[in-house]
């Protein structure tokens, strides 16, 4: 304990545990409000030097806000941050970085067309008289990269996901980083890659680096962290200095504030149901499909390696990727050629939700209501004028039924967490009342609680007769949510799996083969 | 939140307007005892216009009236807007150097409606009712400059022949266009002279590069002309760079004739580098405009036609005639050359030496 008295009961409890230890970073009663809305309420944390401290919580629980404050991107409304026992006030990103706190985000800040060594030294080039000292740069970089398995001379664009993340961490350390915040560093990493990253982190930890590790996954927290703090609704829900004694269920309970019930769809056969959607002879980039029928109310999973055709087919059906040929028919009609633009797709009852919300899912600076209305504006207008009353009730309806967590439907989408943004997207496509709903990685990057919500919504929708395609590489999600899995290879369906054959190991084997 | 902002914004606006209206009624009967005579200038980028403004200013303030000027920066629309705004201050008259002869007509008509007399200097207007126009015959200026060059070529070769470069100015400017037309006409009468006419937009840097290029192309160039003095310094630089900067009478001298009569020209003429300059008289423009407004227009009478004489000016005599827009005094262009360059009545001398407006 460093001398300051803690008034708060929760912080008392935690600091008791850490009494007498050396804290690299302390957060004391930090709050952040936007108008009347509190993103954080009096949160206190103590991070021990040379530890990996997990930060857990649902989307919107306040993780990003807290990390933003610690890294100097945002200023707290009240409260204080102590680094090595000294208070840092009104610090911006630069000041925090100088003090040794670095944030490594999900989007690795790497410039593709220059070498790994140069990326490592970006902005901190060793120089004399304004000239970069290349020899020194290469030598330093080589020393830093030793043991990481990264070739300093390789073009950064050719590094794989795990190497890019390592590079970012090293960069932070080389810039004098003592406390490094990793925001979901394992997203989109394979299992072996993740293991490699964790080994790397442990190695650095032993050298005295302190990590704050943000993750959605209980198993990761349990595997790598020494201590954990859990945020819920902007407040500290609890934490532990002894992660080894925790169970995954205990963590989930802390995150959700209730016992987590994983969703499981009741699978059945659809042989007796009428065919709702029939695809024929679809040829497009990476796609060469002879035929596929989807029945009324059926949920079909598309999976496969990247470039195998699952995602490409989904985009071709929606008109985002140009199809060279192919028809789509509904309820047994003759079928028309595939739509050439998303608007035509929506008109024919086909809706698609992209896997990359920020890129082509939401219009960030517009409100929730405006985003929900976006795809169905035209059909609900009269003489080009938006029907405001109708629109408002529609948006309120989806705002409520999707369970979007925000002050109201006028909130700007950029301020929402990833999971809530995904619900907004879902609301937008559902508002077009589709006959065929295509969801591309619908639960990527959203936490386990919201994930169940999304899967439940999709399940409920299918019961109203809508046919659904879920494109996913998350085998667990497929096992829980779909009736049939189509494994793609070389642009066509290599194998279709139904019933109890839809199991994690089986799917992995099929997809990798 | 959004609604609240909108409400408040409207209140702010309403408040501002209310203030304006109340102030307006309170000030309706504002002081009439003041004599306010503004000047609408077209630009301050040229010494000529600066002196024009200085002349009007001295004339107005010398009478203990209040003066103000606006600068339209060669933007015609802006000048119209400035006239409109100046009208609000209830001036006793307006002196202006219009950017565009035709576009200014609508503004003059508005002043006519309000019965505010307008004096136009330098660039005559094409319509409306103008109390007095004092200007320069740009066309004649071009002709005279051409004749000065032709005379010197005749003296050099025994007959009018040789090579002449005209670095003409922007054609969107009426004055420059008319000077070019006058010069074109005069040279058309002398087919033995190779007349090279090149655009420079009246810019110093372009005059420099055009003259350099022409000298490379035609090393035997005999004469060069610029329709204004300030940018003509580019020509002087070009001649220096090409080793052709020689006094009249020296071997390799290039005949150098300009228009305007600014201090730089007077100086170069005295030194002998320049041959002749067709001069205007911006000081006379401003002074005569104010004088005529005071003597006649502000008393409600028309400016009388007939001879105008004033020994104060180098040109001494002019004629007020009935022009398109009313009484017009066209000051005859006159030639400054080595013989008369030291006369202390040249405007370039008065402006720089007596008024102390530095020429850079």
């Amino acid at each position: 304990m460093t001398g300051q008295t803690m008034k708060h009961e929760a912080t008392d409890a935690i600091t008791d545990v850490g009494s007498g230890t050396d804290f690299a970073l302390r957060v004391e009663n930090v709050s952040k409000s936007y108008g009347a809305f509190y993103a954080l309420r009096s949160v206190s944390l103590n991070i021990r030097r040379g530890s990996i401290h997990g930060l857990l919580g649902e989307n919107g629980a306040g993780k990003s806000t807290l990390v933003g404050i610690i890294s100097g991107q945002r200023t707290p409304s009240s409260g204080a941050i102590y680094l090595d026992g000294k208070e840092v006030a009104n610090a911006d990103v630069r000041a925090m970085e100088e003090a040794g706190v670095f944030l490594v985000t999900q989007e690795p800040m790497i410039i593709d067309h220059i070498s790994a060594a140069e990326n490592l030294m970006l902005g901190i080039w060793p120089s004399s008289g304004g000239f970069v000292r290349w020899g020194r740069l290469k030598a330093d970089a080589a020393r830093m990269l030793k043991g990481s398995g990264i070739d300093p001379d390789v073009n950064a664009g050719r590094l794989n996901a795990v190497a890019r993340r390592k590079l970012n961490i090293l960069r932070a350390m080389f810039s004098g980083g003592k406390v490094i915040i990793l925001d979901e560093p394992t997203a989109a990493l394979t299992v072996p890659d993740r293991r490699q990253l964790f080994d790397f982190m442990r190695q650095l930890k032993n050298d005295g680096v302190t990590f704050i590790f943000i993750s959605h996954y209980n198993d990761e927290i349990l595997e790598i962290c020494d201590a954990v703090s859990v945020l819920r609704d902007g407040s500290l829900a609890g934490g532990s200095e002894d992660v080894a004694s925790l169970t995954s269920e205990q963590l989930s309970e802390l995150v959700l504030g209730r016992g987590l019930v994983l969703f499981q769809r009741e699978r059945r056969t659809f042989a007796s149901e009428p065919v709702a959607v029939s695809l024929r002879n679809v040829v497009a980039h990476h796609v060469d499909l002879d035929e596929l029928d989807i029945r009324r109310g059926e949920i079909v999973g598309f999976t496969g390696l990247p470039g195998a055709g699952a995602k490409e087919l989904a985009r071709a059906i929606f008109g985002l990727n140009a199809a060279r040929s192919g028809t789509i028919g509904f309820a047994g009609d003759a079928g028309q050629s595939l739509p050439r633009h998303p608007q035509a797709a929506f008109d024919r009852g086909i809706a698609y939700l992209s896997d990359d919300r920020r890129k082509d899912g939401v219009v960030g600076h517009l409100s929730i209501a405006e985003n929900i209305a976006l795809s169905s504006l035209g059909r609900r207008a009269s003489f080009g004028f938006v029907q405001r009353g109708q629109e408002a009730s529609l948006c309120d309806g989806y705002f409520a039924s999707m369970g979007i967590r925000a002050p109201n439907a006028e909130a700007v989408v950029n301020t929402l967490s990833g999971g809530n943004q995904q619900k907004v997207c879902l609301g937008r496509v559902l508002a077009t009342e589709p006959r065929l709903l295509i969801l591309d990685e619908p639960t990527r990057g959203i936490d386990v609680g919201v994930k169940q919500d999304v899967l439940r919504i999709i399940d409920g929708l299918s019961k109203t007769g809508v046919s659904v395609i879920i494109v996913s590489t998350d085998t667990d999600e497929l096992v829980r949510a779909v009736d049939r899995v189509c494994v793609f290879r070389h642009g066509a369906i290599h194998e279709a799996v139904t019933g109890d054959d839809i199991a994690t190991e089986n799917l992995r084997r099929l997809a990798q083969a | 939140m959004g609604n609240e902002f909108r409400m408040n914004r409207r209140q702010v606006l309403a408040g501002g307007l209310a203030l304006g209206v109340s102030a307006a009624t309170g000030r309706a009967a504002f002081a009439q005892d003041r004599m306010f005579l503004p000047f609408s200038n077209k630009s301050l980028d040229y010494y000529f216009f600066v002196i024009e403004e200085e002349a009007v200013k001295r004339a107005v303030e010398g009478r203990k009236w209040s003066f103000q000027s606006t600068n339209a920066n060669f933007d015609n629309t802006k000048q119209l807007e400035q006239w409109q705004s100046l009208m609000l201050s209830q001036p006793v008259g307006l002196v202006a150097d219009p950017i565009d002869s035709q576009a200014i007509v609508s503004a003059i008509r508005r002043y006519n409606q309000k019965k505010i007399p307008v004096a136009i200097i330098d660039t005559p207007a094409d319509g409306g009712d103008v109390a007095i126009t004092v200007s320069f015959d740009n066309h004649l200026g071009g002709v005279m400059a051409a004749r000065e060059i032709i005379d010197r070529l005749t003296k050099k070769y025994g007959s009018p022949r040789g090579k002449v470069l005209n670095c003409y100015g922007a054609l969107a400017s009426v004055a420059w266009r008319q000077r070019k037309e006058g010069m074109d006409e005069e040279f058309a009468k002398h087919p033995d002279i190779t007349y090279i006419s090149r655009p420079t937009e009246g810019q110093l840097d372009q005059m420099l590069s055009v003259t350099l290029a022409t000298l490379s192309e035609h090393p035997d160039l005999d004469a060069v002309h610029a329709p204004s003095d300030s940018p003509a310094r580019g020509i002087a630089t070009a001649l220096q760079q090409k080793g052709r900067w020689k006094k009249a009478g020296e071997e390799g001298h290039v005949i150098f004739v300009t228009i305007d009569g600014e201090p730089v020209a007077v100086k170069l003429l005295q030194e002998g580098y320049m041959d002749a300059c067709v001069s205007q008289d911006p000081i006379a423009y401003g002074e005569i405009a104010v004088e005529m407004l005071e003597k006649h227009s502000m008393k409600g009478e028309a400016v009388p036609l007939g001879a105008y004489e004033n020994k104060k000016y180098f040109w001494e005599k002019g004629e007020i005639v009935e022009g398109a827009t009313g009484p017009t005094l066209i000051i005859p262009p006159f030639i400054i050359n080595g013989d008369n360059a030291s006369d202390k009545r040249h405007w370039g001398y008065v402006a720089e030496q007596e008024w102390g407006v530095p020429y850079t």
């Binding site: 409000s33 409304s77 219009v363 504006l377 | 705004s85 007509v105």
Partner: protein
């Protein structure tokens, strides 16, 4: 030891006053154009007794009309995250076409005016086509269009000023009712229509969405190219109307008509809060920006500031407006 703890949310004690302050400052900064405008009006009123008169308000309104139309025209492409530099040049060129249609081709003035506005609209449409279908960069495409149109105007007029305009054509620029000029009504009408377009129609919503995120808009079923083309076309139309109004007001078309408006026409909407990155801005802000610039111009024209300093002072006033806006975006966006 196992130390899983759950806590209740702490009670809210601090921050309430902070929130209030934040709100007030936010409100002030959101309305900064209007507040700065009122401040300038009062300031100029102190320096010149004629500034705060009804006549001057009328004067300001007249002078704001053309700039306002151009500001709207420039704002529309900005809202879809593009830009159109050719708008002021389009104003000059199209009005000259309209004037020539009357004087040289003998059309009735109204028809001739429509021809001018039609040409302007077509130019806008063409710009839109180039930018969407040919994927030309709007900054350079419209820059080249601007140079073409300026050159074409000089060629059309041969450097002379066109003044052969019919009485009907110039009526709108001269007419007044009870001393109140009629011309600003066109601006009011245009502001109203564009405001309704942006706020209440599907097209308006699409414009904001496309400006905010074109990829997402495309996936959401919006025809992004079509929206952009329509936006450019409307901008061209507004430029054409502005050209008619300017020619009508000054009863003349010079060989460089309109070119001096370029920077102010771009500055006005940006000062009024239209983002150069697209998707943000509204007509109230644009009007504020237009009035602010006009008030500065008029104020400086009738305040007895030595002319050598007018340009600099005007520039400073605009700078302050932009600086305050930048602060707003920095802390309250």
């Amino acid at each position: 030891m196992s130390t899983v703890m759950t806590t209740t949310a702490p009670k809210e004690t601090t921050g309430q006053t902070n929130v209030g302050m934040h709100k007030v400052v936010g409100w002030i900064l959101h309305n900064v154009v209007w507040i700065w405008l009122v401040a300038l009006i009062l300031g100029f009123g102190m320096f010149n007794e004629f500034f705060l008169t009804v006549m001057n308000m009328q004067n300001i309104m007249v002078q704001a009309t053309v700039l306002g139309m151009l500001g709207l025209a420039v704002a529309l492409p900005l809202l879809v995250a593009e830009i159109d530099l050719s708008i002021p040049a389009n104003l000059g060129f199209s009005s000259a076409i309209g004037a020539l249609a009357y004087s040289d081709w003998g059309m009735p003035w109204f028809l001739a005016m429509l021809v001018g506005v039609g040409v302007a609209t077509l130019i806008g449409f063409f710009n839109g086509l180039c930018i969407t279908k040919l994927r030309m960069v709007s900054l350079i495409q419209t820059l080249s269009m601007m140079i073409i149109l300026q050159g074409a105007l000089l060629a059309l007029t041969q450097g002379k000023t066109l003044t052969n305009l019919s009485d009907g054509y110039v009526w709108i620029g001269q007419a007044s009712i009870d001393g109140w000029p009629v011309m600003p009504l066109i601006l009011v009408l245009a502001l109203g229509l564009v405001g309704i377009l942006l706020k209440m129609t599907v097209l308006g919503r699409s414009i904001y969405a496309v400006g905010g995120n074109p990829l997402a808009s495309n996936s959401a079923g919006i025809r992004v190219d079509r929206v952009k083309i329509i936006t450019y076309t409307i901008a061209g139309f507004l430029a054409g109307v502005a050209g008619f109004l300017l020619a009508s007001w000054q009863m003349a078309i010079t060989s460089n008509q309109g070119s001096s408006y370029l920077l102010y026409a771009i500055a006005a909407p940006i000062i009024g809060g239209v983002s150069v990155f697209g998707g943000r801005g509204n007509v109230v802000g644009i009007l504020g920006g237009v009035l602010l610039l006009t008030v500065i111009q008029v104020g400086l024209a009738i305040t007895n500031v030595p002319s050598f300093y007018v340009g600099m002072i005007g520039g400073f006033m605009i700078f302050i407006a932009v600086a305050i806006d930048a602060i707003r975006v920095r802390y309250f966006a």
